[in-house]
């Protein structure tokens, strides 16, 4: 991933910036310019709460090269109280214990290294509440 590509994503990856449609209330994450539900153009910036609930999950055992050292790891679709959903790793726990309904907090972590330059790329991962 070239650096400008990474830099452009910083608002959503670092700050969990989403967009709420002023027409229908839909929250899109990452932010968009057109509401995916009603096609409204009036969207306001909102920050997602740093917690949520697992909608569905898996344990990745055959991982892409960049994540080989971390396998096996849990991945989940998380829903925040704002109604936004995002894909994250679920860490700091036994991956086999992750499943739908689990309450998680979203924490700022290193996600991967960019290409051969090895530039560190950050974002959010989920950890079980109280875990």
């Amino acid at each position: 991933m070239p650096s400008p590509r990474y830099w452009r994503e910083i608002p959503n990856r670092f700050r969990l910036e989403a967009a709420r449609c002023t027409g229908c209330g839909t929250v899109a994450f990452p932010a968009r310019t057109i509401c995916p539900k009603c096609r409204g153009r009036e969207l306001e910036s909102v920050r997602l709460s740093r917690h949520g609930k697992v909608v569905t999950s898996t344990v990745v055992r055959v991982a892409p090269d960049e994540f080989m050292m971390e396998a096996p790891y849990a991945m989940a679709v998380i829903e925040t109280p704002e109604g936004a959903r995002l894909m994250t790793q679920v860490v700091d726990c036994d991956p086999d214990t992750v499943g739908p309904g689990m309450e998680v907090d979203l924490v700022f972590r290193l996600i991967r290294k960019e290409d051969h330059g090895g530039i560190l790329c950050y974002g959010h991962k989920a950890v079980p509440v109280g875990g």
């Binding site: 569905t56 055992r61 892409p64 991945m75 995002l86 894909m87 499943g99």
Partner: protein, 382 residues
């Protein structure tokens, strides 16, 4: 719109075909389709291909393939919709003939996956790079999440999913073009390596090379090329949000349901009229979700389709008599056309040991990514 028929078909065997290049595969399948119909020219070629660029560093496949077929000069275009590229190439060929723009069109698909590319990463590019792949999800991982969501909502077990692979291998064992012409037992499937919970290795379609081609013309000209044309009576294409997190229900494949509705509507048929179907089982869970979304069976019957034999050869609605993507192989861009060829042969009574007796109406469903695109075609024997 004019009525459109398929009048010829050709395909390579599917598998790890190290002796054949991307262009070799294309030429073998396309030439076979032309010869089968006795055609010496075409007006236009559509090349379904997911990722020649990433798999072998080759883009611009339209002119390349036309040239190697000895047809430099004709209109030729590469068509991409991830794993649904082949099905969408068929749709574009169908529309071009139906519209009157062309009289003879080759709709093809080709993929060369075993030349050393990082297949996991290439396939992942059919998912959302910024919001899914960035965080470490894989393609099997996405379908595993679909499976888990489905299992949470329904009475679906790992054994139900495994029976789909057992059933498709049984069919594939009878298909001389299949990558895996052998059966597997339920125990082998259930004990195979876990790839991404709850999906195991034998729930996953393999990495394959292959090509497939069909020749289309107006129905009224079909007898010039064959005694047994097969009519395309319906075509539907639909999309859904790209990222799993952006769909209202990760267990539901809305693009499949919408593409099916459009195809049924155009063909003026209902799901109950379909007698044989090729469905996109890139992972065994997908066959179950797709059968339900296509309306071929109600949810509970779809879940148990392979267990009860309802979707096996001889059952109420045989699904994936070719062996499906699981056993026949899944050279991604070629799959949609290969599905079409299985139904073409079924409706012509040429499917040999896999023949569904008296089949007149068949369906194909070809899906891109984790279900963000789906294309359905309905065919009728003439």
């Amino acid at each position: 719109m004019r009525e459109v028929a398929i009048v010829g078909a050709g395909m390579t065997r599917f598998g790890e075909l190290w002796q054949s290049s991307l262009r070799d595969l294309f030429v073998e399948a396309a030439d076979e389709a032309l010869r089968a119909a006795g055609a010496d020219h075409v007006d236009s070629i559509f090349v379904g291909n997911m990722s020649g660029g990433q798999f072998v560093g080759q883009e611009h496949l339209g002119p390349l393939m036309a040239d190697h077929l000895g047809m430099a000069g004709v209109a030729a275009t590469r068509v991409e919709s991830a794993c649904a590229s082949g099905g969408v190439a068929l749709r574009l060929g169908f529309i071009e003939v139906a519209s009157g723009m062309s009289d003879l069109v080759l709709a093809t698909g080709v993929e060369k996956m075993t030349d050393g590319a990082d297949v996991t990463n290439v396939l992942a590019s059919a998912a959302d790079q910024e919001n899914e792949v960035y965080h470490g999800i894989t393609f099997p991982g996405l379908y595993a999440m679909i499976a888990r969501a489905y299992m949470t909502e329904n009475d679906l077990t790992e054994e139900d999913i495994s029976w789909v692979a057992v059933k498709n291998h049984k069919h594939g064992a009878m298909n001389p073009k299949a990558q895996f012409q052998h059966e597997v037992t339920l125990e082998q499937v259930m004990n195979s390596t876990m790839v991404s919970d709850p999906l195991r290795l034998l729930h996953c379609s393999p990495v394959s090379d292959g090509a497939a081609a069909v020749l289309l013309c107006p129905l009224e000209q079909a007898r010039k090329y064959t005694d047994r044309p097969v009519r395309i009576v319906g075509s539907g294409l639909a999309t859904a949000p790209m990222a799993l997190a952006h769909r209202p229900d990760p267990a539901r494949l809305d693009a499949v349901a919408r593409s099916a509705e459009r195809a049924y509507g155009m063909a003026h048929v209902t799901p109950g009229d379909i007698q044989v179907a090729e469905v996109h089982d890139c992972f065994s869970i997908a066959e179950i979700c797709c059968i339900e979304a296509l309306g071929l069976l109600e949810r509970e019957a779809a879940v148990k389709g392979a267990v009860t034999g309802c979707t096996a050869l001889g059952g109420r609605i045989p699904v994936n008599t070719s062996g499906g993507l699981k056993a026949k192989g899944h050279p991604v861009g070629a799959t949609g056309i290969a599905q079409t060829i299985e139904i073409f042969e079924q409706l012509r009574g040429e499917a040999g040991d896999r023949q569904v007796e008296g089949a007149r109406l068949g369906l194909t469903q070809n899906m891109g990514g984790s279900g963000a695109s789906s294309v359905v075609h309905i065919f009728e024997g003439v």
